[in-house]
Symmetry: C2
Subunit: 211 residues, 2 copies
Amino acid sequence: MKGRRTNIKDRIIQDIIAGVWSPDDKLTLDQLGRHYSSSHTPIREALRELQGEGFFRTGAGRTFRLREVDREFITNIFDARSAIESMLARAAAQRCTKNDLENMLLAHDGMAAAVRDRDYALAGIKNRLFHDGISAIAANGEATRVLNIHWVFIMTMWAAAGYGPERYDGVIQDHGYIIRALAENDADAAAALAGAHVIKAKFELLEQMKK
Amino acid sequence: MKGRRTNIKDRIIQDIIAGVWSPDDKLTLDQLGRHYSSSHTPIREALRELQGEGFFRTGAGRTFRLREVDREFITNIFDARSAIESMLARAAAQRCTKNDLENMLLAHDGMAAAVRDRDYALAGIKNRLFHDGISAIAANGEATRVLNIHWVFIMTMWAAAGYGPERYDGVIQDHGYIIRALAENDADAAAALAGAHVIKAKFELLEQMKK
DNA sequence: CAGTGGTCTAGACCACACG
DNA sequence: GTGTGGTCTAGACCACTGC
């Protein structure tokens, strides 16, 4: 399924965070095509996907203009994620079966083990497994799609932030409480916990941005 | 800005609802290209946008497979919309100024007038103005983008549903209460009202689908 | 190991800005 | 009117499928 478009999109995000492209650059298809060794079409499609994720706005004329990844942008996408994750957690708590719960515990333990080993790359992957698990139980593919769109960006930001044990321990603690809410089929609790969990991530990234 | 891609996307959605394309059809680029008198690229991009909106899933191989627009799909997207509109209404209530309020009242009165004149096409447009107004006050462009993606689909569904005065009066009543919440800067009330407003739309469309 | 069909390349096209 | 640069056309390419 994946063409080179997917790779180009990921590389562009990493380059945005790394500061290779700045908001005032022109960013023409020719220029990007040269940089990523590709012709117009794959670049064009990658840009359109990135536009759908909010990284580009259509500027004057028909040009693509890079959006600044600033506090407002982080705030906006995490507020949206919080609302959706909260809703999904509520649905998941209502539907959660014994089997679902075991899968969640597996992901949870896997992440805890990775953090214990100081393997933060693995911990990031396990973290995503945990959140994907909730989405799977909630079974709302359309809402899940919205959560998935910024994933590359979030992973890259976390890697750049270089969080240590304190941050990860807090995340794991939160996950533990969310699992309890799922186990009790307590929808209100799950919604509140999941929503707050995302807000914390927002604050951490905003804090990190000041540097 | 708009190329023919945008038109093709809208026409495909209308054709999906009209039953021109059914979930089991092959839907190759060649076939669609012949049908919409275009070459691969614009079709391909339209399909990719529609994939991002959940209308297509990537089937076996690398083929595009049309998703069935069924009760589950409607439920999923409206549950997601409810969560986001609720969050936006909460933010809007906190930020709403006197000037913002006047703009909302303008859109509100415009829709009421359109319904009084039985001009439901105009009422649909005014309805969108109302919801766009809330998004504008909330000033979360990234969340708003998520709300905008299904708009063509929703407009087409409403037109197909052929709602009469009773339905529109209910919508306008809801809008009136939301405006009151904005006026009082009552964030909790706005969130509850906006969330419920979307759930009602979901139930109405599900009801409509049985026929 | 052919067939099917999505993906990429090259280049013409043309809309929109600016002088 | 001229130029810049996004958009579309045509066709080659090649991954995946199923015979």
